[in-house]
Amino acid sequence: MAITTPMRFRQAIVQALADEMRADSTVMLFGEDVAQAEGPFKTSEGLLTEFGPLRIRDTPISEMGFTGAAVGAAIMGMRPVIEIMFMEFLGVALDQLVTEAAKMRYLSNGKLSVPMVVRASVGSGLGFGCQHSQTLENWVAATPGLKVVCPSDAQSAYSLTRSAIQDPDPVIVLEPRILYAERGDVDTSLVLPIGKARVLRKGNEITVVSLGQMVNVARRAIETSALDVELIDLATVVPWDRETVLTSVKKTGRLIVVEEAPQSGGWGSEIVAAATSELFCQLKGAPFRITTPDVPVPYSGVLEARFVPTADDIARQLIESLKTGTTPKSWWELEGLK
């Protein structure tokens, strides 16, 4: 029987980092305020004390510089983990990730690998405003050579962080900031491989695929709807688990993707396109996405709460799509806002 320990999402990350650092002396962590201050979100609590200043380092506010340093250290055999405080701050460092890290294996004829991990906090809901609240999966999802994962609870935060550090290629771990304080049970022996989705709830009528903080919202919506829905936590955006998702859609004939990204260009488009192309004749209804609107994340609490898909709105769309066989309108269309 599995032994589980209750802990917060952020503590699961600390635990994963510590367990990897104990297991492998090449693992190190650096980023802004991760050492002395133990992380702006307390995701490196106790690590400086245990592992010392050689392996746990504060950096200047220089994302390009320290992301590139992680690339170089990884090439030379270290397993650096870097923390990007807010995903937006990766903008100034994308060159190092997209143009350098992702290309090193290719440009060395397979001789180099870049076993680095970029951890970045993402997502809306905490009133940080439009420059500190985006999910931005699509910044990194369309670059062959990068892997992208996103945990949705303490267990996946622990297991995916460990898998990311063990992976021989660059992996970006998107950490939904709103989940840091959430509690969950963690089985430290449970492995979640990169590229494997989690079927969190079995069902036969509709397949719902979700990611990150939207997974729990989708779960609540499914419970409200009282429908027989299969809920899949995609967990890995690149390379996403086609087999698990398409097998489920083949069974249910219906696919709804619930994502926090804006409507245009989100990762869910890829899922919907693949299901539509590959399973067209087996579908009972048009696959569709429930997303945020194509607007910056608003600051006002009233607006931000409505910006992100709510359990009520997801439940409405689940029920309506099953009943009518058509794709429901988004809340902003219903409100005549777009």
Partner: protein, 333 residues
């Protein structure tokens, strides 16, 4: 020892081999435009004519276990570090004989056995990576050093400043070498940068810095050695500015018509190959007759390299699907 490591050892030990390597680079770069004209090379190239002393001088004082990050103007550094002319020209021609199997091209040369990271086509792109390599040496407590070679234009990009600051604050074993060839792409450095001596920028990071004559291989060796010794002995980073001159345009498309009249001619009087010949003749290591022979032999050698690369197969379609991710069974478990 591989043939390429032998090539490296030759320039580490022997002044005549260093001269021969400079001639090799000159002959090699001299072939490139003709190969464009005949359709054997596509895209673009960035020649290092006039900058041979820096490439060879650097290679002669580093160990193969030291790490070099360099730029798209990298043919000379790759050859100097020991890559075979076939693996460099083959890559430029997109052939399987190339160091990257033909998928990289002129701007992306690498050989980790010789310490050359994949050269970057992004200004400043290799700088933080060199700092990261140095970080790994520091954490593992080896005495290897990392060297970042970059152009004068790179001193205006954020990566330069972030990397110098990081290297200084972490006291990393890294040597920054600014190859100031006077032009950043099509612009003369004084039109884009408010100071003449770029190495002064290291003052902002409390980092030792100096300029050297990049046309004189002895000066390159002396300066780089000083910085490398500092880095190996936990003394931290150094910024070196090597004053050189780009004899050709920025890239294939650039005829460099913007140069002030007489500037090229002035620098050609300090052609690094000419200076090296004078020094070797003065020391009695070479005589004028032998120099003529070396040049003639090298011309023949490079012509053979061209023929070998012409005969090398094109990559197969499967090669574009390789080396994007590590194969599944290779990761740490």
């Amino acid at each position: 020892m591989s043939a390429e490591l032998e090539r490296r050892r030759a320039v580490q030990e022997d002044a005549i081999a260093q001269y021969e390597r400079m001639i090799e680079i000159r002959e090699f770069e001299g072939q490139i435009n003709g190969l464009f004209a005949s359709g054997s090379i596509r895209g673009t190239t960035h020649l290092c004519l006039g900058q041979e002393a820096l490439a060879v001088g650097l290679a002669s004082v580093l160990r193969p276990t030291d790490i070099v990050s360099a730029t798209y103007r990298g043919h000379g550094i790759a050859l100097a570090l020991g890559l075979s002319p076939e693996s460099v020209l083959g890559e430029i021609m997109g052939k399987t004989i190339g160091c990257c199997g033909g998928v990289g091209g002129s701007m992306h040369l690498s050989n980790m056995e010789l310490g050359l990271l994949p050269t970057s086509a992004i200004i400043g792109g290799g700088m933080p990576i060199a700092a990261g390599a140095a970080l790994s040496f520091q954490v593992r407590k080896t005495d290897d050093v990392a060297v970042a070679v970059f152009g004068d234009g790179a001193t205006n990009i954020g990566a330069f400043h972030e990397t110098l600051n990081l290297a200084a604050i972490w006291n990393l074993p890294v040597v920054f070498i600014c190859d100031n060839n006077v032009y950043g792409e099509y612009s003369r450095i004084n039109t884009t940068t408010p100071l003449e001596d770029l190495h002064m920028r290291a003052d902002s990071y409390k980092m030792p810095h100096f300029a050297l004559d990049g046309m004189d291989i002895a000066q390159v060796q002396k300066g780089v050695t000083e910085a490398v010794i500092r880095a190996r002995s936990n003394g931290g980073p150094t910024l070196i500015e090597a004053k050189t001159y780009r004899f050709a345009g920025h890239s294939r498309a650039d005829q460099a018509l913007y140069r002030p009249e007489g500037e090229l001619e002035k620098w050609e009087k300090r052609d690094p190959i000419k200076l090296t010949e004078e020094a070797l003749i003065a020391s009695g290591a070479l005589n004028p007759q032998r120099i003529i022979e070396i040049k003639s032999e090298m011309k023949t050698t490079i012509e053979k390299v061209v023929a070998t690369c012409q005969d090398s197969p094109e990559p197969n379609l499967a090669s574009m699907f390789q080396n994007i991710f590590t194969p599944a069974n290779v990761g740490r478990s």
